[in-house]
């Protein structure tokens, strides 16, 4: 934790609504700590006093995620954490989903990317409130970023809140954001063995969506193998197959989203 400004070393995380002016860059400041001890300890760890700690390393994130979850529940908001590799079609799936659902229920979107406002702009163009989190060099969203984002984003009561995580099948598996569930997205232009290569994410998710199925005739993706590998690593996984482009298979996905709201 940065003691000087309490900003938790996240100097390069930016949270912005589309059409906002870039905030002044939060320039790195010198961390002059009061206890400027120039210690230089090469000593053995055998000496000194042992203190039992027994605390979960992720306890701070988990606590904040719990706060987010309680806040969402109190307001009837259901949050979904969308995770995938970059380029799986998360944003396109979201655009098509929002276009249909926006007349039925309140919606909101948190977009996570290392850089650019592109995704939040695409979502706002559909007419749904969106906020962009730019993590800079960070590889995942965490619960603190989400709690800061929802302070700036108008999330109506009883909204369905989509959180599009940074494209990365590794790190986001570990960080609870306060979501109802993780939805892992896999496109048919990727390898069908992704569930085997990235089992942590497929273990952590409750829902898997296989996207871009309109391209199946042109690629070597073996969809039944992908599904069986995904189910092997997580037998409780519920799987949807769809093409956001042609709309094939969208109905089941949309019905599932509606059932969350019912």
């Amino acid at each position: 934790m940065c003691e000087s400004c309490g900003c938790n070393h996240k100097h390069d995380t930016l949270i912005r609504r589309p059409d906002t002016v870039d905030p002044a860059p939060h320039t790195a400041h010198n961390h002059v700590h009061g206890d400027g001890h120039g210690h230089d300890h090469e000593h053995e760890h055998g000496h000194g006093r042992k203190i039992l700690v027994e605390q979960a390393i992720l306890s701070k994130n988990d606590q904040l995620a719990g706060q987010n979850r309680r806040q969402f529940q109190a307001r009837g908001v259901i949050a979904l954490n969308l995770v995938s590799s970059p380029g799986s079609g998360k944003t396109t799936l979201l655009e098509q989903t929002l276009k249909i659902l926006k007349t039925e229920m309140p919606l909101a979107v948190i977009e996570g990317d290392q850089q650019t406002m592109h995704d939040a702009e695409r979502i706002e163009a559909v007419g749904v409130p969106a906020i962009q989190i730019n993590t800079g060099s960070g590889c995942h969203l965490d619960a603190d970023m989400i709690s800061r984002a929802v302070q700036q984003l108008p999330v109506a009561e009883r909204s369905l809140l989509f959180i599009e995580n940074v494209g990365n099948l590794v790190c986001p598996a570990l960080f609870d954001l306060g979501e109802e569930c993780k939805v892992v997205i896999l496109s048919v232009t990727e390898g069908e063995d992704k569930p085997q290569k990235y089992p942590y994410m497929f273990q952590a998710a409750q829902i898997a969506v296989i996207t871009k199925t309109d391209l199946l005739p042109y690629v070597d993706f073996d969809i039944s193998r992908a599904k069986s590998l995904a189910l092997h690593v997580n037998p409780d996984l519920r799987i949807f197959e769809l093409s956001a482009k042609t709309g094939l298979g969208m109905a089941a996905w949309l019905d599932w989203l509606r059932s969350l709201r019912a």
């Binding site: 206890d35 006093r49 203190i51 700690v53 390393i57 701070k60 965490d142 089992p199 092997h232």
Partner: protein, 134 residues
Amino acid sequence: MLYRLRKDFLLPNKSAIVKSMHEMSLAMSIVEIASNAARSQGGKIINHVEVEVGSLAGVMEEALSFCFAAAAQDSIAAGATLKIIPVAAKARCADCGEIQPIDSFFDNCPRCQGHQLEIIQGRELHVLSIIVDE
């Protein structure tokens, strides 16, 4: 011919990767938890930190050690040693009820080959203890 990158291949390239991995977030949390525990009990300098990491926690030990050294700089844990105690994963088979050690999420039950395994150990990520100077 099949070449395999050594696991530590990337490690010396500090600036490029140091923040782009979740191990850095974890290392920063370890430093924060250890520093708070030390301060609350009158410790001024942390010499040693012991953590337990489950084999299915999704954490690369080398990366965690590397990030810990970086995260501890400018803190009272600067220069502290990090001991990582691995916790082997175990799972209960939904079919036969047997509890068995497993190596990965892809393992089948060693007894009945069932693959409905409930992981009961191996996701641990805890700071266990620290050693401090007063």
